[in-house]
Amino acid sequence: MRAVRWRKVFRDLVGHRFRTVLVVLSIATGIFAVGVVMGGRAILTREFDAEFATSQPKNAAYFTMPFDDQIVRRAAEYPGISAAQGRHSAGYRYTWSGSDAPRSLSVVAYKDYANITVERIVPEEVLSWPPHRGEIVLERAALQTGDYKIGDVLAVETRSGKTENLTVTGFAHDINAFPAQFVGGETGYVSFDTLPDIGAQESFNELLVSMKGANLTLREASLLAASLQRDVLEDSGVAVLGVNVPKPGSHFLGDIFKAVSLLLLALGLLSMLLSGFLVVNTVSALISQQIKQIGIMKAIGGRASQVTWMYLGMVAVYGVLAVILGVPAAQFAGKLFIEYAAGILNFRISSYAVPGWVTALEVVVGLIVPLLAAVVPIRLGTRTSVVRALTNTGVNSAKFGHGLVDRALGLLRGLPRPVALSLRNTFLRKGRLLMTLATLSLASGVVMSVFCVQASIEQSVDDLDAWWRYDAQIRYEQPVDRIGAERVAAGTSGVSAVESWIGAAAVLDRPDGTKNETLNILGMPYDTTFVGPKLLAGRWLEAGDKDAIVVNTDARKAEPSLDVGQRVSLEIGGETSTWHVVGVVTGQLSGPVIYADREVLGSFIGDQSVTQTLLKTETSDPLMQRAALDRAEARLDEGGYRVVGARTQAELRDSIANELGILVWFLWVMAVLLASVGIIGLTGTMSINVIESTREIGVMRAIGAQHISIYQIFITEGLTVGFMSWAIGAAIAYPMSTGLTSLLSGAIGIPLSYRFSWSGVVTWLGVIAVISFAASLAPAFRASQVSVRDAISYE
């Protein structure tokens, strides 16, 4: 550093350590937020896509009566099919030392684990792979619901009513399995020869196929799936119970993932904006603080360009320091964030390598943005004429007394002197106040919006309760006689009412000749008291309906032909019949459903047997409901009614809330990051104000101001900014959160109800009071340390 002017830059950086730290922190926060968010988003997307693609996702799944290798081979050779995989899959209930209540287990068996061609499974931590007879390897999402250990024994209830013990011998990862925490049941892999032990046949009952073609459309996939079903399965006499044709290339969590990724993008852009604000703020303050020195330098021969470069150099040093600090910090936190997110979404991260463009973006945010943000204030400062610079008093006191705000403040006569003084200070530095307010208001708006989105999600889940007027549901392995089963269930202690429904898979014959993936059709008494339908259009089922169906919004969204007044063709149990859509009700967060009268549906199928029984209980306590359900299940078992699924609505509600909770979790990450940027901004502004008011403070000390008055001044100022940003934030939270809610509901494909969170607004008021108090404490302390001597010698 030979040139003296650069020595001055260096001394200023070192001499004003507090300021340097503050500015570097502000910039580093921006880098951090952008790095974590954009990097996290890029890595999550990259790894998710990579893992999903290597898993060889299915294009269609058929749920069928038993079939053998012959069929799989024929399917694999079918034109347009790239791979076919047969497997056995069935639902069981099991008990385990880690859980009091029995849990659900989805058992999947492959004949040859070494050659899985569709939906590949990756063993992660296993004693033996593939599993031996009597062993089970759990899908690792199980670890999110319970503390499973290798060597644990799962007591599985077999079809014949016996209990078979399976030993956990490891954990595998299947990106295509529904994560345990969302479905309330674990998935486990067993060998084929274990199947007879648990009362199942050694045969396939699921056929998964993947299709050729990189840009397959859903329509193409549906058409191919339909012809394969006809030519291979049905041709060989294999009855198909259900078909699932997902949108090609999309994962079942894809929508949630898309929503998360969208949120992250929004957050990244916001944090970039906010950190830009912070930089403009601090640099303008820096310049206004140095304006006299700039005047002196120009008076002794410094050209504006030379002085400009000095300050740009200074900002560049801040930027470099921030990059050195922010980039590794972002990488570290980003890794934690990704690990956690990947855990929730159940996929593996094989590389944490940060993409080059993210690092480049971080450097841009750390170096280029501050330099660009600094150019204007620096140019303004260095262009100030020498007289103006030399006579500058720090604040433009001449203008005070003219503005509207100032006049309003003049009305606040009754305030204690230091409070009035600090309010005057707050408004004196209007530019800085505006920047700080903007930053903190945006952060407040986001935080309160997150509260509102959370409230909306809760509202949507609450709406489920309004729909479900029953407490528990029992599903049978085979359709059962309604009267008998209901008599057994109704006799259970704690159960107050029962009703049974017919559930079936329905395939919609689309007008264009394609078939859709399976919809569920439920037959219930038209005058049921077990659900409380919320009608959006048309009417509910009525007595005397012959071919009436009501669809939910999810069904209408999936199949636009399902709308009020439409006549549609449904294939149920192999028979095609025509139905008339009479109403649309709100969805229940669990996919497309069609409702029909039980008797009507029964006579269409030609069988009045029911597939599920619903219970109302005498209690509202979820645990007591669970107990009543367990008793009912035991009685049904005894009576020979084989139960495959039993769950309380409270449990279902929790698992849905869990799934939506992921979104809320990401939203909170977003809110906390933004709030931190806001807090650093406020602290920075307050500190700059202290530095700038050093002389003023010294003078006040000289005329006898106590510590307490000085604290009062700065804390009042901080609180004022805090409260103002709270008020502005609350005002923007409404449009922001309605937008966010509809964005989310669009992304996850589930209509969410909206609820404004007043409690969130009140909570944030408390939090922001504490935050602004804390943010002004350190600056206020520094102010109280100013001595009269410092103030007078201060330049």
């Binding site: 002017r5 002794i300 050209r303 020498v386 007289v387």
Partner: protein
């Protein structure tokens, strides 16, 4: 308005002001602080500007140093039409032509005394970098501050700071030194020392223009201009102390 005709030939005129008017617009009503100043200063002159507070002394010296622009009129210094220069050219020109000394010293607080003196050389690219320190030390010896070279300004007394500021004003060896109340903040003994320094500089053929309140000081300058309400109302020429 007073004409200040000088007996000397036009050629030796270093500094010439013609009809300089300065009107401030920043107040509620425009205020004319200089009402048409005409002034010629010759090389080697020691000029004192005296007048009551608010009479326009600072305004006048700011016109000469180019720190502020005149509303009307011409200022030609050493052949350069100062009133036509832009901020940038002005800064460069000023750095080499006029050393400015302020009432409140105005040393940069984070640079040592020596570095403060090196700064103008750095800005104006004067001398080779290795010659600079030597020259700065020489200047500090002249103002008797060589032993304070590595201290920060805050550690110096007021008189020492002002002498350091004078050394800085001389850094680029400008022909003219302009000082606005350089002794205004000093006790009479220290002020006397600073004044002595100026007198020695005049002997070295520097031209000095100094604003002062102090009537005693005013009597020691060779030429004293009285400013009243923005006009030069009186001019006194004293016999040089050391003879012609």
């Amino acid at each position: 308005m007073s004409e200040t005709a000088t007996p000397d030939s036009v050629d030796s005129t270093l500094l010439r002001l013609r009809g300089v008017v300065k009107t401030y617009d920043s107040g509620d009503v425009p205020f004319t602080a200089l009402k048409g100043i005409d002034l010629d200063v010759h090389t080697g002159e020691f000029v004192g500007i005296i007048g009551k507070s608010g009479s326009g002394k600072t305004t006048l010296i700011n016109m000469i140093t180019g720190i502020d622009h005149p509303t009307a009129g011409e200022i030609v210094i050493d052949g350069t039409p100062v009133h036509r220069l832009g901020e940038n050219d002005l800064a460069r020109w000023r750095g080499r032509t006029i050393g400015v000394v302020f009432q409140f010293f105005q040393l940069l607080p984070t640079l040592t005394v020596l570095e403060n003196i090196l700064l103008p050389m750095d800005f104006c690219h004067m001398w080779l970098p290795r010659e600079r320190v030597e020259r700065a030390m020489h200047l500090l010896e002249q103002v008797e501050l060589a032993d304070q070279a590595y201290k920060l300004p805050a550690a110096l007394s007021g008189g020492q700071q002002q002498r350091a500021a004078i050394a800085r004003a001389l850094a680029n060896d400008p022909p003219i030194l302009a000082a606005d109340e350089p002794t205004g903040n000093l006790d009479s003994k220290t002020a006397d020392a600073v004044f002595g320094l100026f007198e020695r500089l005049v002997e070295q053929h520097k031209t000095i223009i100094m604003v002062t309140h102090d009537n005693d000081m005013a009597k020691r300058v060779r030429r004293a201009l009285h400013v009243t309400d923005g006009e030069i109302t009186e001019e006194r020429v004293y016999r040089p102390r050391h003879g012609a």
